[in-house]
């Protein structure tokens, strides 16, 4: 029973980690708290679903195409809505409020736009993989193993991108010191746009995987976005390892709390964990001290 719950918690945790990664990247590089992020995740699931059902392609073919589509959409949204309010002094409170307001506006637009296009009925997204693996007491569908596999693949890819490529280096420079990066001639806008693309792709993957485990519907973004908030604060805003560890920890807290204490209040545990974390260590597990 316990081993099974831990396994379930880790599967849930990997999806949470994936969705938190995209969120934390944007915050790290651009100091943007993206309230529309959950809706981007939901749109990603719908992109994949549409490719699978309308064009009848395999899930594993549809996923990368959808990820590319969401990446482009994210860049377009960044240039049309966020860049105009980010041009002022970068750390000012005013600009910070404006950014939050704009992403809140996007939250409405994307959410309602998806309802207009796809309606509100939940739909199932098939991965096309059946069967279960049984190890001792633990029962695990192959589908869930694939979810963990994809998450490891994407995290590996992200690390490669961040630490082995030029643009990754530039991105880390921007995250550390924006003015300094500007001074040595890095084009901040283009790098931030790139981060939005990567973050959108991650969100799309997380949403599509969530969709295969549960269902795809217009409200599916609200859970992951709240979880992402909790995870990135738990792990440290802007920290990549923090998002991964935080995602797994929150997945475990939620599953174990739900199984052994109270299912109805399982979400309350995660929020209490968040508040406790903020009071004890506001910078999060892996965070730098708050600026």
């Amino acid at each position: 029973m316990l081993a099974q719950q831990i396994a379930n918690g880790l599967v849930l945790g990997s999806i949470y980690a994936l969705s938190a990664l995209g969120f934390t990247l944007i915050f790290g590089a651009a100091r943007v708290v993206n309230f529309a992020y959950g809706e981007v995740l939901m749109l990603g699931a719908f992109f994949t679903l549409t490719l699978v059902t309308v064009l009848d392609v395999n899930f594993f073919v549809a996923l990368p195409i959808a990820m590319a589509g969401i990446a482009v959409l994210s860049v377009v949204l960044f240039y049309t809505t966020l860049r105009p309010v980010m041009q002022g002094s970068f750390t000012s409170l005013h600009s910070e409020l404006q950014i939050i307001l704009v992403t809140l506006g996007l939250l409405y637009v994307l959410h309602e736009g998806a309802i207009l296009i796809w309606g509100t009925a939940p739909r199932s997204l098939e991965m096309g993989i059946e069967g279960v693996l049984i190890v001792g007491d633990v029962v695990m569908t192959y589908k869930r193993l694939v979810v963990i596999g994809i998450m490891i693949l994407l995290v590996g890819g992200l690390y490669w991108l961040l630490y082995r490529t030029k643009i990754g280096k530039a991105l880390r420079a921007i995250a550390q010191n924006r003015e300094g990066a500007n001074a040595i001639g890095l084009n901040a806008d283009r790098i931030v746009a790139f981060v939005f693309a990567v973050s959108g792709a991650m969100a799309c993957a997380a949403g599509s995987l969530l969709g295969t485990l549960y269902a795809v519907d217009s409200t599916m973004g609200s859970g992951p976005i709240l979880k992402s908030f909790v995870i990135v604060i738990f792990g440290g805003l802007g920290s990549v390892p923090g998002a991964i560890v935080g995602g797994l920890v929150i997945g475990l807290i939620e599953t174990l709390g739900g199984a052994y204490i109270s299912f109805a209040f399982k979400d309350v545990f995660t929020f209490l964990a968040l508040i406790a974390m903020l009071l004890l260590r506001p910078a999060g597990l892996f965070g730098r001290a708050a600026a």
Binding site: R31, Q98, L101, V102, L104, G105, Y108, L278
Partner: protein
């Protein structure tokens, strides 16, 4: 200042005679607008004078609405006994939450208040014995009579709401000009400097949050008997976001702004006879467009317009500038 006073009195006169001229449905709509205005004012206080976005504001509305309604429906308390208890609960909660969260800046505060709102919503949804869970409370009666006044008709309830709105506006107008208000603005503008000149920053912020929670609570007290039903789904992130849209569209940092924003956002979809389907998407687009192109909102636009019509003779402009400063 006198211009503003004339406008306020005129607006109040229009609002006071409105139910006599309007039908039942229009009175209902106007009542809804005024309740939204009260809630938007509470958000405006946080946004404009504490300088924070508070996504937990809907939770304060929810607490007041639920505490008062539970006390009335389950324990048979009189509305006017339940109301102060509910307000006390809201202010106490705000003080506790504020002490914990107002140390946090920028995104941290926003996110934790969102978490707080979610906790409140989840507790309401799951504490079935008291709140009836997701099914919600039903059959909430109009406020009980007091001092010989009855509130069981649409128009009498409207006057109660109007009275509450006027009281809130006057109280907030005094607050903004008071020492506390000035200190809040100082803290908003530069926290470190404010601390340096001896303003108890933390205490001021907590007081600011408590006052705004009180106003949100007043909104909740009116919302419950107005809707007659309460359910946790009314108090999601979108409820707080709606208040934010009203403040931003109306004009941040003013008292008329949130009221104007509430009127605008209730009546524009109504006049364009949008189906309710398109209302949220309009809210979103408005929020984005106003934030980017008119950060001062409708109030800002009106002021520019007024200045432009007055501008031709240069001498009067100078005079007006002088009177503006006072």
């Amino acid at each position: 200042m006198t211009m503003r006073l004339v406008f306020s009195v005129l607006a109040l006169a229009v609002l006071a005679v409105a139910p006599a001229l309007l039908g039942e449905y229009q009175t209902y709509l106007l009542t809804l607008t005024l309740i939204w205005a009260i809630m938007a004012l509470s958000m405006g206080l946080v946004l404009g004078f504490v300088g924070q976005i508070n996504l937990g504001q809907a939770a304060f509305v929810a607490i007041a609405a639920y505490v008062s309604s539970v006390l009335r429906l389950r324990y048979g308390l009189d509305y006017w006994v339940a109301a102060p208890i509910a307000l006390a609960a809201v202010v106490l909660t705000a003080a506790l939450v504020g002490l914990l969260t107002l140390r946090l800046r920028g995104p941290f505060f926003v996110l934790v208040m969102l978490a707080f709102a979610e906790i409140v919503r989840l507790v309401i949804a799951n504490w079935q014995d008291v709140t009836n869970g997701p099914l919600g409370l039903r059959g909430i009666m109009p406020p009980d009579p007091i001092l010989g006044l009855r509130f069981d008709t649409k128009s009498s309830f409207y006057y109660l709401v109007l009275f509450a709105l006027v009281a809130v506006v006057i109280a907030l107008a005094r607050l903004v000009r008071s020492r506390t208000g000035q200190m809040l603005v100082a803290v908003r503008e530069d926290e470190i400097l404010a601390e340096f000149v001896g303003i108890p920053v933390m205490r001021q912020k907590v007081i600011g949050l408590c006052i705004s929670a009180f106003v949100a609570g007043v909104g909740g007290l009116l919302l419950a008997p107005f809707l007659t039903v309460l359910s946790p789904s009314q108090f999601t992130l979108f409820a707080a976001a709606d208040m934010i849209v009203m403040v931003v569209v109306g004009g941040v940092g003013t008292l008329a702004g949130p009221v104007l924003g509430a009127i605008f956002l209730v009546y524009v979809p109504e006049l364009l006879s949008f189906t309710s389907q398109f209302r949220p998407i309009m809210m979103g687009i408005l929020l984005i467009v106003v934030t980017i192109f008119a950060p001062k909102g409708l109030i800002g636009l009106l002021e520019t317009l007024a200045n432009r019509t007055r501008s031709p003779p240069a001498a009067t402009v100078a005079k007006k500038e002088g009177s503006h400063a006072s």
